[in-house]
Amino acid sequence: MKGMIQGLGVTLKTMFSKKVTYAYPDEPLKMPDRFRGIQHFDPDKCIVCNQCARICPTQCITLTGKPNPDPEKKGKVIDTYDINFELCILCDLCTEVCPTEAIVMTNNFELAAYSRDELFKDREWLENNNTNIRQDNNNIGAPQRGGAK
């Protein structure tokens, strides 16, 4: 009988103590800086090195580059860049290997959609998903920081 009464005591004590739940839909949830949310893409930094597409475990990044429009500059400029968020597992490997931090994680995570094709985010959508971008990207995988080719 003693155990039961102790148990009742604990629940009664909890009844009067401060609640721990937060009202998520009303107040937006503040995530720590390193939180891996939906990616933000900055096309001018991208050198079309294909690293992110190569490292992605679920192969959900598809990108195509085109030769640089103004003649004197060498190299390529990104043309289309889309991530298929049906497959993306937000594992942050793409931002890890990107040498120029063109692809960066943001802190917002609302990805609910009514139809599957809304989950194909194209370049321009990723570009203006620029709210609360992550500061510290720590791309240890990037070539200049000894990352894997």
């Binding site: 039961m4 148990g7 009742l8 909890t14 009844m15 721990v20």
Partner: protein
């Protein structure tokens, strides 16, 4: 109500009684709506969270929304179910629970029937609900509900006995089975109420009542983790609401009985407090008993079926009989001697 009851039956006082019954039904439905909300809020508070608070201020319209939802939901009848029994079961379960409320005296004058066999009346009617639950379990032609129905049948029957036996002590003390007389026989000060001399009876009554309601430590029939949902697995829509309604109205009845039999009904805990009308005290005591049921539900794990049975016959029954014996000896020594 006394003078209305003494008059010979005539058209207008029959009409008056039906009106009173309808008003009382609405009050009880209102009670059920806010008891469900109160239970979910209390459970929430006891689990570090707020409970429903999105519909209306503090979630007031939550249960109203649930009831409306159940109204609009399509209540399906499984194809191979026994249609007639499937339809009757919820009604058969709800009707006795409302009939039982007539016999409980809420204040000195406010009561609906002044039976001198009130206790037996209660026991008889609540047995009909047991049959309805077993019927529901069998009729929905689903393994899980069959198991749930069997279990609840066995549980109800084996807990009916200690429930009634625990009341015998009080009845012996007051010498009558009429609930109004039992309340009047209790003293003015709260320690003169029946629960102190009848402490064993009160304990056995509470445990048996919790099991009679199929609630927390004894909620075998709708043990979610084992039988998915017990006897009302196949019920949906308003038929399911009937089963829920029956459970909460029985809780109302048990709370009423407990406060009348053991906690001094409408009597104030101390004589100088009697300027507050009796109905307030009655409501307070019933609220306390109902809160205790919620409190148990938040804390206790479920008892296993064989332990449940063993507990009824091997522990509660002997205790109840012991209580009767002790009361008899007590009466003999103190009152008569």
């Amino acid at each position: 109500m006394t003078k209305w009851l003494e008059q010979p039956l005539s058209w207008e006082n029959a009409l008056f009684f039906t009106a009173m019954a309808v008003v009382f039904l609405l009050i009880v439905l209102l009670y059920v709506v806010y008891a469900i909300l109160f239970e979910r809020k209390v459970l929430g508070w006891m689990q570090w969270r707020h409970g429903p608070n999105r519909l209306g201020p503090w979630g007031m319209f939550q249960t109203v929304a649930d009831v409306l939802k159940l109204l609009f939901k399509e209540d399906t009848i499984p194809r191979k179910a026994d249609r007639a029994l499937f339809i009757i079961a919820p009604a058969l379960c709800y009707a006795p629970s409302f009939a039982v409320l007539a016999v409980i005296p809420y204040t000195r004058e406010l009561y609906f029937a002044d039976l001198n066999v009130a206790v037996v009346y209660y026991a008889a009617l609540s047995a009909i609900s047991t049959i309805a639950i077993v019927l529901g379990g069998w009729a929905s032609n689903n393994k899980y509900s069959l198991l749930g129905g069997m279990r609840s049948g066995a549980q109800m029957i084996s807990y009916e006995v200690p429930l009634v036996l625990s009341i015998v002590g009080t009845v012996m003390m007051t010498g009558s089975m009429n609930l109004r007389k039992i309340v009047e026989a209790q003293g003015d000060w709260f320690w003169q109420w029946n629960f102190l001399p009848q402490i064993i009876g009160f304990g056995v009554f509470l445990v048996a009542a919790v099991s009679e309601l199929n609630r927390s430590p004894f909620d075998l029939p709708e043990a979610e983790s084992e039988l998915v949902a017990g006897y009302h697995t196949e019920y949906s829509g308003f038929r399911f609401a009937f089963f829920m309604l029956a459970e909460y109205v029985y809780m109302f009845a048990i709370a009423g009985l407990a406060s009348v039999l053991f906690l001094g009904g409408w009597r104030p805990p101390a004589p100088f407090l009697d300027f507050i009308p009796g109905i307030v005290w009655m409501i307070l005591k019933m609220a306390f008993v109902i809160f205790f049921l919620f409190w148990l539900r938040a804390t206790m794990p479920r008892v296993r079926i064989d332990q449940l049975m063993g507990f009824a016959w091997k522990v509660l029954l002997p205790l109840a009989i012991l209580n009767v014996f002790v009361t008899a000896v007590g009466l003999e020594l103190f009152i008569k001697g």
